[in-house]
Symmetry: D2
Subunit: 282 residues, 4 copies
Amino acid sequence: MVHNKDCISKDYSNIKDIYRPSHADFTYDKKYGFRDYRGGGRASARESVARVCAGAVAKKILEELGVNVLAYTASVGKIKLRTIDLSYIDKNPLKMPCKETSKEAMVFLDNLIKEGDSIGGTAYCEISGLKSGIGEPVFEKLDAMLSKAIMSINATKGVSFGLGFLASEQKGSQYNDIFYSENNNVYKKTNNSGGILGGISDGSKITINIAFKPTPSISIPQDTINSNLENTTIKIKGRHDPFIVPRAIPIIESMVAITILDYILINMTKKIDCVKYAYENF
Amino acid sequence: MVHNKDCISKDYSNIKDIYRPSHADFTYDKKYGFRDYRGGGRASARESVARVCAGAVAKKILEELGVNVLAYTASVGKIKLRTIDLSYIDKNPLKMPCKETSKEAMVFLDNLIKEGDSIGGTAYCEISGLKSGIGEPVFEKLDAMLSKAIMSINATKGVSFGLGFLASEQKGSQYNDIFYSENNNVYKKTNNSGGILGGISDGSKITINIAFKPTPSISIPQDTINSNLENTTIKIKGRHDPFIVPRAIPIIESMVAITILDYILINMTKKIDCVKYAYENF
Amino acid sequence: MVHNKDCISKDYSNIKDIYRPSHADFTYDKKYGFRDYRGGGRASARESVARVCAGAVAKKILEELGVNVLAYTASVGKIKLRTIDLSYIDKNPLKMPCKETSKEAMVFLDNLIKEGDSIGGTAYCEISGLKSGIGEPVFEKLDAMLSKAIMSINATKGVSFGLGFLASEQKGSQYNDIFYSENNNVYKKTNNSGGILGGISDGSKITINIAFKPTPSISIPQDTINSNLENTTIKIKGRHDPFIVPRAIPIIESMVAITILDYILINMTKKIDCVKYAYENF
Amino acid sequence: MVHNKDCISKDYSNIKDIYRPSHADFTYDKKYGFRDYRGGGRASARESVARVCAGAVAKKILEELGVNVLAYTASVGKIKLRTIDLSYIDKNPLKMPCKETSKEAMVFLDNLIKEGDSIGGTAYCEISGLKSGIGEPVFEKLDAMLSKAIMSINATKGVSFGLGFLASEQKGSQYNDIFYSENNNVYKKTNNSGGILGGISDGSKITINIAFKPTPSISIPQDTINSNLENTTIKIKGRHDPFIVPRAIPIIESMVAITILDYILINMTKKIDCVKYAYENF
């Protein structure tokens, strides 16, 4: 049981009958016939505490297996990372691996708070130490399941692997990761595919980029409707983060760790000799 | 049973022991201890015929329910759509909704074939006519399941909803979709969120963008390794498409239609009166 | 596509608004607000054709792997098998492996038809040739998944493994299957557990017993209610089998074959070296 | 986190290399290449603590919805319940709802302990207050999912609904549950089907019987093999229950409560108007 010790009881009654733009208020009401206006119910990121509890256990087991999952904030609006210093991630509230970019972003966010506005951003996640052969074919591909796990996190709007959407602009001769061997070990000259081929891990780092929309709750007045479908205006008060990504970092790591560990457990098992049947019998 | 009538038997023996770069050859071999070098086995897009069969049935049922799923090619490398003319999609082999862009892309692809190279691209998919309230909370969000379904398609490297990664650069005041009502109907001034809020459909169009990597099989010679982990070179012959996206269009529509219909079937059911319990008892 | 060539169009209008006792009419109506009175809709055993199609493919693959799934009718009401002659199963419409019992049961069923009544029965299913190590721990135990698969077949009311409910009356000293070895092979003196220990196959035959209720549709008049909740009487006409088990035999074999093959496919995969971690690290 | 405060460290080394008859030792070793001989690892009933934690929460929510799940011990070997006094369940260590039978069984078990033997038994579980309409058609029938949930509990060997295997001996005219109405409420004269029709709850009590094998660990010496496949003898020491069913009662209630609540949550949702489409369009 996790007690919510940072809960400030306040009056939500001003949004009781009003749908916040780009919030789940409207869709929950349409689906269930009611919504819990006092914080968002199951649409609240508070449910992520269970994910992080399970993820903490999964990460500990993965560590024993030599697998490490690491996520950080990669951009705040249009401010993107200039350098990578992983040791800095836990030294700044934005969870960015770059002192300079983090400071710039903090100034930007301070101004944003004064405006009563919010901003989107991206997170990056990498899985290192995972051997090749993890993932199941056809519908349960490793990237398919990671995408589901990540896109079930609040405020995500996109997920991609390796070069992601940039891959769509490249030629095969440019994008293909060239294999080579040294001392009987396999390496790739690049990792544009982000460590997954055919839905199965290839032994290199798995690299993931995730897009987050701006926090929908802003204090700038917005036009909207109420539950009687009348046009009205809303001004959202409260302690809303102008930038949600740092809060999502442990959730990303947790969902990724749980997913990877599930696949590993399935594979910690009897190996049926498929070579024999595949070639001899079919 | 679907007979493969377009199968040309040829000699695959030159790639029998060589791993094609960015192909599933290597990972299948690492996972299963063998691979079907004669076409790719379960990593081959041939398995998608079953998806399209099921998708055809799902699309017919969805039509009766007023739901329509439509996908098309949105870009070929850096060549992006300039205008949208849906009637043109089935009139060109690239499945692009724009005569002008399609022609430009055809010229580009002709040159690419001469070079022996390939190119990535993006697809766009929209679901129209879906009422609000479809999707399940927490782990089975509508966008999470659509992401899994789409990312299980061969060669996909990214998926996004609405503005997608562009959302990460916007402010809340800019991104939020403003609700308004007219004659007791709810509308949104924009659809930046792509029709899903809190994992549940909001009644507007669901819009999805999907990134595809370039076809890995190119005839330009590439360095690689063989199954003895010796460095070697490969030159892939055969009828390989330089551009895979048009082939993926019906698969995207199918996976999306199957996913949406599953959610609708779950919701064609008894409605437990949750309002009473939510407010009175808890 | 499977055409229903044995469909006799008849007037179902007399049962349109009446709930047949012990049929799914009532529950479908309560759940969905309507029911397809013209044959039962998704509650009809006609949906099992898809199961048998998939099962036929699964059985062919299992054969190649040396695994065989066999089911037969084990009892008709209180008439139970006296001897077992597997070669007789396909020689009688009741799918019983015993000429004598089958003949006795046929006489019993002829009289039952004249009475307009029906009878319950049991089926037996065995899986032979399956090596030990198949099944996943905790929630996905082999017997748990087989139970789900079998209990999803129409008219089933119970499923058991090995001695089943008789095991509940035995002492450990009587029930336990004693291991012994000969020439480095492992054998068990008995197979009371039905080939599954801890949710994992032990290499001996998996044996399953399944209870079926009597066909609910009988032509003897029965009291019931209509959809206006008025008390009334129903007399069901039509070609209803007085005994459903022989029809279920191929469905049982199919569901079991699909389930077993799924587990085998999951195990045709990389084997992570769990010994090392289990002993050294934890 | 639940601390195991009743753990007595003892020397398991005598069974380290020996397979206990009818235990998961052998199958875990065959599947994973090792087993945790110090208590059974994931095959130990200790994992059920997580089930009971989740079940406790599920039962609390179900209570608010008016649904009650109750299980008790129904037989100890051949000693079966004579009367039912639910108030007695928590007053005896055997969890039997009958003082007389419980006392008789206690005497029987005392003798069994002296013999170093164990005994099987059955449990009964009923779900009351569940409205009709819960359960999903075809593969996810309510009885199919309950069977899976229950058969995933250690030592279960069979599960049945309503009359269960007795249904297989009855005629339709005898078995069918007759509907009748009084004051616009629907009732059934009997509940032979155990509250589920077509995989969907019918509004009456759901009744389940479950068979448990005798505890495999007995102190009577048994022949068996060791991991070198040599024939040997084992004499199992330790605090092993001669009768496992009372320990399983809260696990049964938990698995049933979790399963039922899952179905209810799925149904607490938008109801698509399927009547319109079913009749008008198809």
